[in-house]
């Protein structure tokens, strides 16, 4: 009975998502140039799809691992890590070097650097704090300032022309997504999801807490460290694809939890991805139609996400 209710709600979400997609694709379209419109709008939709899935899944897994539903991996400072890596490459190698100008190489460069650096830094932090997540988060937010200061120091000394080319990649935007990279990102996401199939299946057990999970036969430490790596990689993919977009995960993971009221991660992940798509498509529509691209989407996501976070705190006060 319960599973049926979940399925029904997910179905409604799927329908809603479809409607938004259709609206986004066909709104205000000139059928004379149908193909041209599609060639612009489809890649954006693809990027939204991958971002929503990556961030939604990563946030859900992260929240389950650390047993706290009001945090997001974005608080770890990965966004500023991306900024600093990107700026460093342009700063030391110049915007014309292959690492910055070739889209494929720069995508992989981002991915590999972010993946390894984040893994090294955060596994060290987790070890030092004995898996006290709040301390890791605090260190993460402070590190974000550290990275940002480094980044803006480099920007200050940088050649203004170089900065112009750099700036486009620093602000989250769905406006100029490269369709080829989209394909690679998609393949990566599918591959990673299959790779993590076994760990994702035991997530429901991990949600019960460390002791119970171990009693139920889960190799806890190994699974957790593998999952954390996965979270890092998923965020890295999303960030390398569209740029830093904080707080999205917080909104969509919690909305998914509120809508479904379940602990089954297979449903939750799906719902989070769907909600994420709706949120992003709405945001993109607002950015494109109302503000004529003058305001980046991340501004809206930050304001909405932050207010939602404070609301969540008030709503379950005492539980944190």
């Amino acid at each position: 009975m319960k599973a049926l209710a979940h399925k029904k709600r997910i179905l409604i979400l799927v329908l809603a998502t479809m409607i938004f997609w259709a609206f986004y694709l066909f709104y205000d379209i000139n059928f004379k140039f149908f193909e041209y419109y599609m060639s612009i709008r489809l890649p954006k939709l693809g990027a939204i799809l991958i971002t929503a899935f990556c961030i939604g899944a990563a946030t859900l897994v992260f929240q389950t691992i650390i047993n706290n539903t009001i945090v997001t991996p974005c608080l770890l400072g990965m966004n500023s890590l991306y900024l600093v890596i990107h700026t460093t490459i342009v700063f030391f190698l110049g915007s014309t070097s292959v690492f910055a100008s070739n889209k494929y190489i720069s995508f992989f460069c981002d991915l590999v650097l972010m993946g390894t650096m984040a893994t090294i830094i955060y596994s060290y932090l987790f070890r030092v704090t004995k898996f006290n997540v709040l301390y890791v988060l605090l260190a993460g937010t402070v590190m974000a300032t550290f990275f940002l200061s480094l980044q803006s120091t480099m920007v200050r000394i940088m050649d203004p022309n170089e900065y112009e080319t750099l700036l486009a990649t620093l602000v989250a935007s769905f406006s100029h997504v490269n369709a080829d990279i989209l394909g690679i990102a998609f393949i990566l996401v599918v591959f990673l999801t299959l790779f993590y199939k076994k760990e994702l299946e035991v997530l429901d057990v991990i949600a019960l807490g460390k002791e119970r999970a171990i009693n139920l036969g889960v190799d806890y430490d190994r699974v957790i460290s593998k999952l954390l790596l996965g979270v890092t990689l998923f965020i890295a993919i999303a960030t390398a694809l569209v740029g830093p977009i904080s707080f999205l995960g917080l909104i969509i993971a919690n909305l998914a939890r509120q809508i479904l009221k379940t602990y089954k991660h297979s449903y939750l992940t799906l719902a989070a991805a769907l909600v994420g798509m709706i949120v992003l498509v709405c945001g993109q529509l607002i950015v494109e139609r109302i503000f004529d691209l003058a305001i980046p989407i991340s501004v809206f996501v930050n304001i909405a996400g932050g207010i939602y976070f404070l609301y969540l705190l008030l709503a379950n006060k005492g539980n944190q």
Binding site: F146, S149, G306
Partner: protein
């Protein structure tokens, strides 16, 4: 007492040294000989800069100390309490709605928003009563993100992003005679803080405790937070944002000197001034003859120290942790 004297001496020596660092040549012989050009540089640029640096260091670290004492949490500060973000919002509002606003009217707006923002934040953390002290800081950072988001939104809307970023990056390079005097507001405010140090201390022990001693909890809390906000606002208006001074300096000082406000206030003020002065000297030396804004240097140095502090606290045995992060929990739960 030793530490106070050492810090004061250090401040004087570094201060005098900093007067003679810069692009235009200023030398002791020149001053003594009465070279008008050099005297003019000294009086119009170097001296104001030094005074602004000292006021900034003193003001931000004392504001941080007061906030930490009142909220009973070592992680609260102008940066992590939304005070700086709110002051920025106030400045932006003044810039947009009163294009011909003077420094004073901007400062007034910044006072107002900084106070309101800080009150909201403190009211918020007091209604929720977190079990974990770190959560308080995270909430503050989130709160700053929200206010920063609103500021950004308005800035994008009115095409002020660039203006805002130059206005908000803390830097002493534009400090000249006649354009920074608001920073002197720090002096009377810190003086008042000294006078009321005892009251802040008592309030820092909890609502019930202060009521028993006949100290009006809410009034003192309100008053103390207002002083901290005003200290922050008058610095943000003149110098811009400088993160982490208010968080790191009080923590470092109380780590060695304990929590009694009267004993630590002077040291915190001096140490804050020395810290900002050193950061500024680094910023001036690194790519001279150009200079890096203080915000960047303080951000890098400050956050590195903070993370080091955190790891140090976690690695040393439990007793030390109590001493540094301590006594917040029971009072928060009341």
């Amino acid at each position: 007492m030793h530490s106070t004297i050492i810090l004061a001496l250090l401040l004087i020596i570094l201060g005098i040294f900093s007067l003679f660092v810069g692009v235009l040549d200023v030398q002791i012989e020149g001053i003594l000989k009465g070279d008008t050009q050099q005297i003019h540089t000294l009086l119009a640029s170097r001296l104001p800069r030094l005074l602004a640096i000292v006021c900034t260091g003193v003001g931000l670290s004392v504001a941080g100390l007061i906030m930490q004492q009142l909220c009973m949490n070592k992680f609260v500060s102008p940066t992590t309490g939304g005070t700086i973000a709110s002051a920025q919002l106030g400045i932006l509002i003044a810039l947009i709605f009163m294009p011909d606003s003077t420094l004073y009217s901007r400062a007034f707006f910044a006072f107002l928003t900084a106070m309101v923002g800080t009150w909201i934040y403190v009211a918020f953390i007091q209604t929720i009563k977190f079990k974990d002290t770190v959560m308080v800081a995270l909430v503050g950072i989130m709160f700053s993100y929200v206010i920063g988001g609103i500021t950004n939104f308005i800035a994008f809307k009115y095409d002020m992003v660039q203006v805002l970023s130059t206005w908000l990056t803390g830097s002493f390079s534009l400090i000249l005679r006649g354009r920074y005097e608001i920073v002197y507001m720090v002096v009377p405010l810190v003086f008042v803080a000294f006078l009321f140090a005892n009251h802040f201390n008592i309030v820092g022990m909890g609502r019930d405790f202060s009521k028993n001693l006949g100290v009006p909890y809410n009034v003192v809390l309100f008053f103390g937070l207002s002083i901290a906000s005003m200290l922050t606002a008058c610095i943000v208006v003149v110098v811009g944002t400088i993160s982490y001074i208010g968080l790191i300096v009080p923590n470092l000082v109380t780590m060695f000197k304990g929590d009694k406000l009267q004993g630590t206030l002077l040291d915190t003020a001096l140490f804050g001034a020395v810290f900002v002065l050193i950061c500024d000297l680094i910023g001036r030396a690194l790519i001279s003859p150009y200079e890096l804004p203080i915000e960047l240097i303080a951000g890098i140095v400050g956050s590195a120290i903070f993370i080091g502090l955190l790891i140090f606290k976690l690695k040393t045995p439990r007793k030390r942790v109590r001493l540094a992060a301590g006594k917040t929990q029971e009072s928060c739960q009341k």
